[in-house]
């Protein structure tokens, strides 16, 4: 049951699935993203420009909704890591698939983030979301109060809590399962990235070969020379086709399955964080209970209060968490299915196109008497 929130809850005035990150502008080292969304009222669209810092601002606001009961049970849509114009190799590695291509994968990831926030029953009510999507002024850059989500590397004691046994079988299973799945997904995403990187290398090598062939072309009227030059030119075209094919294959990989694996991986991490928060709360609760039992009569009442508060919070969190998990499980299957289907369709199309092209080249060569 939702209590009255201090901050006026707002209703989002745009269609969540209409949110698009349409382009990115580069100005020196600064990247600005253009975000377009359709008004619910049907009277047009909002165009806003936001930097990565603005996204962080939004995320901070979402994290700091302490007055929303059970907020810690929310699986927060993951925000991609910060992009850099002249990216260091470490940051490229961190971004994985999102670092590839011009910026299409990255923009898509930002777009997905916004859509998921806007579609979230709890999060979309935060005023910051409305401000972010509709205000023509950049959202405030003021420092937001420290939030409860410290995503930086957890201290060792915190890590030990992660293994704390659960009181609820449902959650224990989910925690175990999440652990395994997170590892597998991350590995699969990394291996797939390696595949794409090699495909790109092949494309480049084909380009080089194609260029080198042009250097073999010799002027002159000697019929043998002309014949050989013709062969070289045609072969060069063949390798251009091979290059195009490889490039398409790599792009398809990135834009469909690559993005899918990347999102799945980050979402698994987000679920893990949520489960961890709940576990921490459980530890807190168990400590509170113990303290209450051990407390001297003088302190007992105060301890009771603390214990009761912890119990209520824990209940809320668990309630929200359960809903979130169920929603998440459904959403991720759908997302992965979509990724797999569009991946397969795109690769099928590319293969057909390439087969046609190669056949054409083959006919040309066969006809070259």
């Amino acid at each position: 049951m939702m209590e009255e929130v201090k901050e006026a809850a707002s209703v989002l005035s745009v269609h969540d699935d209409s949110i698009k990150v349409t382009e990115v502008l580069k100005d020196g080292d600064t990247l600005t993203f253009i975000i377009v969304s359709q008004k619910l009222s049907g009277t047009g669209e909002y165009h806003v420009d936001r930097t990565y810092e603005d996204f962080e601002w939004l995320q901070q606001h979402l994290f700091s909704q302490e007055d929303v009961p059970g907020i810690q049970g929310v699986i927060f849509p993951p925000l991609p890591a910060k992009p850099q114009v002249n990216a260091s190799s470490r940051s490229i590695k961190q971004l994985g698939f999102l670092a590839l291509g011009e910026c299409q994968p990255y923009c898509k990831a930002l777009e997905t983030f916004l859509q998921q926030v806007a579609a979230h029953s709890i999060l979309s009510k935060n005023k910051a979301v409305e401000v972010f999507l509709t205000s023509s002024d950049p959202p405030g850059r003021q420092k937001v109060k420290k939030n409860i989500f410290n995503r930086l590397s957890q201290a060792v004691e915190e890590m030990r809590k992660e293994g704390h046994k659960d009181v609820d079988e449902f959650f224990q299973n989910e925690r175990d399962h999440n652990l395994v799945l997170t590892g597998c997904t991350k590995t699969a995403a990394e291996k797939f990235l390696d595949v794409v990187a090699t495909e790109q290398k092949i494309a480049v090598a084909c380009g080089h070969f194609s260029t080198a062939l042009h250097l073999c072309v010799e002027p002159g009227e000697d019929p043998d020379k002309q014949a050989f030059s013709r062969v070289c030119v045609k072969l060069s075209e063949v390798f251009e086709s091979i290059k195009k094919n490889m490039t398409s294959v790599a792009e398809n990989n990135v834009n469909t399955l690559g993005l899918g694996l990347d999102l799945e991986s980050r979402y698994q991490e987000a679920e893990r964080e949520m489960l961890f928060r709940r576990t921490c709360k459980l530890v807190e609760l168990e400590n509170a209970r113990r303290n209450t039992e051990k407390a001297k009569p003088v302190k007992k009442a105060a301890m009771e209060e603390v214990k009761k508060a912890a119990e209520t919070e824990f209940e809320h969190i668990s309630g929200v968490a359960k809903q979130e998990i169920e929603r998440f499980q459904g959403a991720r299957v759908e997302m992965l299915q979509q990724a797999l289907v569009s991946w397969c369709e795109k690769q099928l199309l590319t293969a057909k196109e390439s087969a046609d092209q190669f056949n054409q080249h083959l006919e040309v060569f066969r006809g070259m008497a």
């Binding site: 399962h177 395994v180 799945l181 597998c184 997904t185 590995t187 699969a188 990394e190 291996k191 797939f192 390696d194 595949v195 090699t198 495909e199 290398k201 092949i202 090598a205 084909c206 080089h208 070969f209 080198a212 062939l213 250097l215 073999c216 010799e218 043998d224 020379k225 014949a227 050989f228 062969v231 045609k234 072969l235 063949v238 091979i242 094919n245 499980q329 299957v333 759908e334 992965l336 299915q337 797999l340 289907v341 991946w343 397969c344 369709e345 690769q347 099928l348 293969a351 057909k352 390439s354 087969a355 190669f358 056949n359 080249h361 083959l362 060569f365 066969r366 070259m368």
Partner: protein
């Protein structure tokens, strides 16, 4: 190239044009009677370009074949010539085609093949079109330890009357191939024929095989070698002159082959070193050859350029092959990780789809491997072959220069002798004078022979180059078509895989 010679009339006229066309040299063609009797042993033909006995066993320090020893040898000129034991042991020295101008010479040999030039071959053979296919297969390790070797089965299928049977096979080892090449090179290179180089020796590769290491790399090595030997033989028999050489026929047909005396036979690395030495030697002699024929200069430049380009292409393809292999490895790893993901997945349909995904990726991995092989065996080896062939081409050009130099040397010597004779006229030494006159007569013959040799090698090279250029175009086209076919096939396989996977993906929910 006998087939093209037969089929394409333009080519025939080409030959004739060369024949009747402008003389390469202003001096009048020599005739039979000016042939001094004291000229070299058996070879009294005027325009014979046969292997002169003198040049064969000439321990002329300029003899470039002195360098043709095993590839890891030191290149000392003093090393005795380990030319192949001369021409094939069973048969006395063969005369390769003589010019069409003179009738057949009175050789004392009862050689089987006294074909004249290309023209006469066409007329004589009539209708025996080029139809021969050689395959090298079934590599078999013979023996143990460091004395072990690989024996290959060489199968010939042909309808040509040149052969006793239409299909036959023999067992040969690598040194036999090297031996064959060595014999052909010693017979034909120095008179201007482009003899295809034999495959490279490889100490590392063979040691692995000998030691018995049955892993992928040694299998690849054997396959690479088998393929190279096959291409080598096909190139050799495609040459109309080489095809008829008794050494070649013996190699293909006879079940027992005398072991090549030295496995330090002419390898292509040795050949390359020899050619380089030739180039150095030529440069050292500071031959300022009066190239009266721009054609040769232009062709030499052309081949220099081609060499550079082909090497670049070869490097480019090698890097492509490398990346493809890497792609195969990465795909296999991704397939494994997808399988693990599928196993960990709770959702049944998604789990199944992910497992299918893993299978598809494994199949794609196989496609990548096949493609890498195509890249390599078709392109990389083709380019490598041509880079090596070009060394043989450069070799004949260098031989021509050497021939020219020899001719010039004779001329200069003649000049000196004439001057000396003139001086002797005024002294009263009749026997010395007679000696001088005799020497002059001998030298005049030498000069004429030198000129004829030069003319002949120039003519031969022109034909050879023309043949080479045509073969090159055909070769490349054939390989490219094979390659494109493999590309098309790969895409069609991919289409099948994706079409099979799509319903699985759609069935997830």
């Amino acid at each position: 190239m006998a087939d093209t010679a037969r089929d394409a009339p333009p080519e025939q006229t080409d030959f004739h044009e060369l024949e009747d066309g402008e003389e390469l040299f202003p001096e009048p063609a020599t005739t039979q009677e000016s042939q001094p009797a004291s000229l070299a042993a058996e070879d009294i033909s005027t325009n014979s370009n046969g292997p002169k006995q003198d040049s064969l066993f000439d321990d002329d320090p300029e003899d470039l074949f002195a360098e043709a020893t095993e590839e890891v040898s030191l290149d000392s000129p003093e090393r005795d010539v380990l030319l192949s034991d001369g021409p094939s042991p069973a048969i006395t020295p063969i005369t390769p085609p003589t010019s069409v101008i003179t009738p057949r010479i009175g050789h004392t040999h009862d050689d089987m093949f006294t074909h004249s030039s290309f023209d006469e071959i066409e007329e004589e053979e009539g209708g025996d079109s080029f139809d021969i296919h050689i395959s090298v297969s079934d590599p078999e390790k013979v023996g143990d330890g460091m004395n072990a070797y690989m024996a290959y089965k060489v199968t010939t299928k042909t309808s040509m009357s040149l052969f006793k049977r239409s299909e036959f096979a023999v067992k040969r080892r690598f040194s036999d191939f090297l031996g064959l090449h060595s014999k052909l090179a010693s017979k034909y290179l120095h008179i201007g024929y482009i003899v295809p180089p034999a495959p490279e020796k490889s100490i590392v590769g063979m040691t692995k095989v000998k030691v018995g290491k049955e892993d992928q790399s040694s299998n690849e090595f054997v396959e690479k070698r088998r393929s190279a030997l096959e291409r080598y033989l096909m190139r050799t028999v495609k040459h109309p002159i080489l095809l008829k050489d008794p050494d070649v026929l013996q190699f293909l047909e006879s079940s027992e082959l005398p072991r090549a005396v030295s496995t330090q036979a002419l390898s292509s690395a040795g050949l390359l070193r020899m050619v380089n030495k030739a180039a150095d030697a030529v440069n050292k002699m500071t031959i300022k050859m009066n190239e009266s024929d721009a054609w040769f200069e232009e062709k030499q430049q052309h081949f220099e350029n081609l060499d550079v380009q082909l090497r670049k292409l070869h490097t480019s393809v090698e890097s492509l092959v490398c990346h493809r292999k890497e792609l195969s490895v990465n795909t296999a790893q991704f397939a494994k990780s997808a399988a693990m993901l599928g196993n960990s997945e709770d959702h049944t349909a998604l789990s199944r789809a992910l497992s299918q995904l893993a299978e598809v990726e494994e199949k794609i991995d196989q496609l990548h491997q096949d493609q890498a092989n195509a890249d390599f065996y078709l392109f990389s080896e083709l380019l490598g072959d041509y880079v090596r062939l070009l060394t043989a081409v450069k070799g004949v050009f260098d031989h021509r220069m050497k021939t020219w130099q020899k001719w010039q040397d004779s001329q200069m010597l003649l000049q000196k002798k004439r001057e000396a004779e003139a001086k002797l006229q005024f002294t009263n030494k009749p026997d010395k004078l007679q000696q001088a006159k005799d020497e002059i007569k001998e030298l005049e013959g030498k000069v004429q022979q030198g000129e004829r040799d030069f003319e002949q090698i120039s003519k031969t090279i022109r034909k050879e180059v023309s043949r080479f250029e045509k073969e090159r175009v055909k070769d490349f086209k054939t390989i490219i078509i094979k390659y494109l076919e493999s590309l098309v096939q790969t895409q069609q396989q991919l289409i099948k895989y994706w079409e099979a996977f799509l319903p699985e993906a759609k069935a997830i929910s």
